[in-house]
Amino acid sequence: MAYPFSEDHDMIREAVRGWAQDWFDGGQGPEGVHKAGTGFDAKAWESLTKELGMAGVAIDEAYGGAGLGDLGRVVIMEELGASLASVPFLSTCGISVDLITACGSDAAKADLLPKIASGELIVSYCDGHNALKLEDGKISGGVSHVVSAANADLILLSLRDADKIEIIAIPNKTNGLQIKAHQTMDPTRAVADIRLDAVNKSDVTIIGTISEADLNELVIQSFIALAAECIGGAQKCLDMTLEYTGQRVQFDRTIASFQAIKHKCADMYVAIEEARSAVYYAATAEPAEKTEAALIAKATATEMFFKVAGDAIQLHGGIGFTWEYPLHFFFKRARANRTMFGTPTRDYERLAVGLLGDAA
């Protein structure tokens, strides 16, 4: 793996970093989103997609995207993670784009991808093939805790139809579809339950079909984007900690001069950099290695972010415990990321099955 980033990536990073930190420091920010109670900042999304044009980063150039793949997405997710910008980039520009690209019909691609790239369409995907039932042409069932579903124009679901899995698209206003948003501990990212009550299959669009094995691999590979968000969030926590401990004076010294503080910061840095290596590697890995690399990146980065965010609160002392100081938003995002797509424990068990076979 050569140094993975091209000049295009560096330009994107610079643009999104400036935009995201402005949002964090002087814009709506996590606190503003918390007050609004929506887990979503529509204006920010419009600005990110229409002014900066970032929604199409991983979409093929033929469909109006930038064609920068996983690595382009990693750059953006790092910067979004460093600001907790409340935009549905992960759900819309991650797995949804990958699924449409991997199994979509030409018509579906031509219809959906340009709309996503231009910011006209917010999409949320969740696995439905074990939760939904198809009977007499009607789809019923529910899926809980779906990221960004409450803000989505279009819900993508996997649906088992006989021996194949179809990816279906349901517009949010479809008859029989209910989307119920939750209040969440992390107020910066909306989560909702989806319920389908005898939705007519003729009312949904079939994007394409995919094997269960391919779908599982694609879903795991989409974790790379989440892992990148963790890197960005953790780096911000460390940066805030270095700044704070470098100013805070006790015993006539900045507390940054005490080994107890320095060593903890060093451990945070080691954890971040090793996870960063895992994420960059996964984003550039050859297809044969990609799923395993994505699993390692996701398990490592989600555990790391939670640990680093917790340590950052500890090193800030009392102020880290206040609501006013924004560190708690990172801690809450880190907590949410640990369980959003399954715990790290489950990821490691998946690796263990590959190494040792089944436990029983």
Binding site: L242, V270, E274, I296, A299
Partner: protein, 391 residues
């Protein structure tokens, strides 16, 4: 055009396969850290075999008998060596530490004097840095050197010198200016070991083995010309030497680690440890850590190829050392009650690995020193205030 890195893999891989056989077959995977005392004579013969076919000092410039390999070629060479279970190299201190230092700081005459013996596997080196009171605080060196006529006379004590018993020479940092302190007034001297003024005492370690030694200098002598740089250059050269090894050998080391992980997995499958969910988690984490080490090494080397070791380079030592120490503990838990049993009165490979891995987080900069370096150099945090020895 053929890929030069692939060419190294093909050429050296084939050589290893053909030559690490016959009388050398018993050396496979032996003689690495924690097992340094295995087959010392045969391993020197192996070193000479490598040398005869031009496989020692491949990173050195061609005019000094090397192959002038680039960093990616060096990585390939080290990986191929480890892939075939190449034994711990008796000559690695000469080849990877002292050789590049002579090339950088030595006179042409010194290069002619010292490089061929390393290159041929006929002269061996060891490192005289640490002292009983100069460990983490390395610049607190007390060993003295004074120029008497045409000779340097050395008095003092060095410790934790690996491979000293089989070495011919030691490079020593010593204090040449009376009353100088810290990094000032030091010299980098080259001292022959076979003389009455040098005594080598092996240190028996918690492994029962003795890879490390103490070196006592009592009016030990070396020629006036056996110095790199001048008086006062010792610290600069000593630190530059430590920088030469960085990078290329890590991927080879990781193959040795991978072999250990595979042994643990194999054992867990045989003895039923794989049923235990906690053991499964730990094995999966160890495997993930091994992969991450590889990803990090590739990331850092690619930065280095562009001419810059990034600050993230400071994270490698503490990461692999801690990972390997954890692996030792995991290995013993996977072995189970059998871990306590010494077959034929000796430690087995995993038992040795477990015990020796306690040294990993101590030598070459303890984890605590690593954290200081990371905090100060990578993160720019304030330096530790210096203590007052009279306080």
């Amino acid at each position: 055009m053929s890929d030069p890195v692939q060419k190294v893999r093909d050429e050296f891989g084939t050589w290893m396969k053909e030559n690490l056989a016959g009388e050398f077959a018993c050396l496979k995977w032996r003689g690495t850290f924690g097992d340094d005392e295995a087959y010392p004579e045969l391993r020197q013969k192996w070193e000479q075999k490598l040398g005869a076919d031009g496989w020692v000092g491949v990173g050195w410039p061609k005019k000094y008998g090397g192959r002038g390999y680039s960093l990616p070629e060096m990585v390939a060479y080290n990986e191929e060596y480890a892939r075939y279970g190449g034994p711990g190299r008796s000559g690695h201190i000469g080849e990877t530490l002292f050789g590049p230092t002579v090339i950088a700081f030595g006179t042409e005459e010194q290069k002619k004097q010292f490089l061929p013996g390393i290159r041929a596997g006929t002269e061996y080196w060891c490192q005289g840095y640490s002292e009983p009171n100069a460990g983490s605080d390395l610049s607190n060196i007390k060993t003295k050197a004074r120029l008497v006529g045409d000779e340097w006379v050395v008095d003092g004590q060095k410790i934790w010198t690996s491979l000293a018993v089989d070495a011919d020479w030691v490079f020593v940092i010593a204090r040449a200016e009376e009353g100088s302190k810290g990094r000032n007034g030091l010299v980098f001297l080259l001292v022959p070991l076979d003389q009455p003024g040098v005594e080598i005492r092996p240190i028996t370690q918690i492994t029962g083995g003795s890879e490390f030694n103490e070196l006592f200098f009592t009016e030990a002598k070396t020629a006036k010309g056996n110095i790199l740089g001048g008086v006062g250059d010792g610290w600069k050269i000593a630190m530059a030497l430590l920088g030469f090894e960085r990078g290329a050998s890590t991927l080879g080391q990781q193959m040795i680690f991978a072999n250990e992980v595979n042994e643990i997995i194999k054992l867990a499958k045989i003895n039923g440890a794989y049923h235990d969910p906690h053991i499964r988690q730990r094995i999966a984490k160890a495997y993930a850590g091994l992969k991450i080490m590889r990803f990090s090494a590739l990331r850092m080397l690619s930065g280095a190829e562009k001419g810059e070791w990034g600050p993230e380079t400071y994270t490698s030592k503490i990461y692999w050392a801690t990972w390997h120490r954890d692996l030792g503990e995991l290995a013993m838990d996977v072995v189970g009650s059998e871990a306590e049993i010494m077959k034929d009165g000796e430690f087995g490979a995993l038992q040795k690995m477990f015990l020796f891995s306690r040294a990993d987080t101590i030598y070459a900069g303890t984890n605590q020193i690593q954290r200081n370096m990371i905090a100060e150099r990578a993160l720019g945090m304030p330096k530790e205030p210096r203590g007052d020895p009279n306080a």
